[in-house]
Amino acid sequence: MQFEAIIFDFDGVLVESEFEGNRLLAELLTGLGHPTSIADAIEHFTGLSGRDFINAVENRIGRQLPPEFHDATRAERDRTLREGIAAVGGAIEFVRSLPVELPRAIASSSSTRWVRTHLDHLGLADLFEPHIYSGREHVTRGKPAPDLYLHAAKALGVEIANTAIIEDSKVGAIGALASGATVIGLAAGRHCFDGHAGMLRAVGVRQVVQSFEELAGVLGLHQPNR
């Protein structure tokens, strides 16, 4: 397949933020006497933030979270911003191997500040600037609306129909499919357990790949030298 441009989701596609956050959450809840696996945490709490997140956790464990929980998650948040998060395996090599003339953008539900902070840590910011778009900053309706992908394609100066979107989440994939682009599901992150590909296919994603090497093949790009 040949595309004019590639639009990437960020969390869970390029960085392991979904896995890292849920690992800590599983540890904390288990420590509080509520045995929780990483898979449980991913299933129930991915994509939630702020009060919605706290409510979901408290509903699940059936009581209020103690101050120690918040101290620990706050310390982790500060550490993450300071030190960064690991890249999804193969992501850095893949982005670096993209032809320089191929337009690319990031379309994320996180803030541009979050995306830039972590792209900087990975040394990838220059390969995307200035095309970093946030569902909470650049459009009124975030994912699962298609608006953010349409905004990114317009900013890149490409037709959405000739664009490939790389998504790992159900919510993102729904919006990406609605935009009219070709959507490729990526189940390469450590948060993608058995059934992840099936979950993406169930919302209509026709092609799901398990690694960036496979993605390069599907996109007709040279595989990165490793």
């Binding site: 933030s49 702020g50 979270l65 979050w114 902070t117």
Partner: protein, 218 residues
């Protein structure tokens, strides 16, 4: 006429003298320059003199003045010291490092709801209506315990208590009462003391003093 650097140093000297009398370490007391109503030029003169903590009362005014200054001086810490509307909470949480005026559960909820994970949470002082004045901001003394508990059960870090004593009355009994409330609730920080009474506040345990006119005017 004194320069901004001279005025700042004079206040730091007075803070140090008051701290010494109270056998406290002057390094434990943060000088917050109240820059509401001051121009970017006046503010920058203080920044150049070494000032890093600044207090603003209104989110809109702060948004007009500070982004450009913060781009040039990224180590500045901004403090929100005025009454905050809940619909400004998301903007306030992005701009301010510390909020001195949390006075109700709905504002706490608004700060948590839209928190951006790319930013550390702002730290919080709970403002107490220490003189039980009808027109003044701050939570009622009787509601403080519940608000402290709500902050402790949120991701927002609790730094301390803040109060503004009634105008025209001796401030020290009110500062002492706030310090007592802080001990009762196991809270360390005290944001008390302004240009007219900061020496007293330091002697009674202030960890942040909020100074405007004495820093910006002769």
């Amino acid at each position: 006429m004194s320069s901004p650097a001279e005025r700042r140093q004079a206040i730091l000297n007075e803070i140090a003298a008051a701290a010494k009398l109270a056998r406290r370490d002057p390094a434990d007391i943060q000088l917050v320059a109240v820059s509401k109503g001051r121009s970017a030029e006046e503010i920058e003169a203080l920044i150049v003199a070494g000032q890093r903590d600044f207090g603003e009362s209104r989110v809109q005014e702060a948004l007009q003045k500070w982004p450009a200054l913060l781009a040039r001086y990224p180590d500045i810490r901004l403090h929100a010291i005025g009454r905050l509307q809940s619909n400004k909470a998301a903007e306030a949480a992005k701009l301010f490092n510390t909020i001195h005026s949390l006075d109700r559960p709905s504002l706490l909820e608004a700060l948590i709801k839209d928190a951006d994970r790319a930013l550390p949470f702002p730290s919080i002082y709970i403002q107490v209506n220490i003189g039980e004045e009808e027109q003044k901001g701050g939570c009622a003394i009787g509601e403080l315990g519940a608000l402290v508990e709500a902050v402790r059960r949120s991701p927002i870090p609790l730094t301390g208590l803040m109060a503004i004593p009634p105008l025209g009355l001796e401030a020290s009994p009110f500062f002492a009462l706030l310090a007592k409330l802080a001990r009762r609730h196991d809270v360390n920080g005290l944001s008390i003391g302004m240009s007219g009474d900061f020496r007293t506040a330091v002697m009674l345990g202030a960890t942040a003093v909020r100074i405007g006119s004495a820093l910006f005017e002769d």
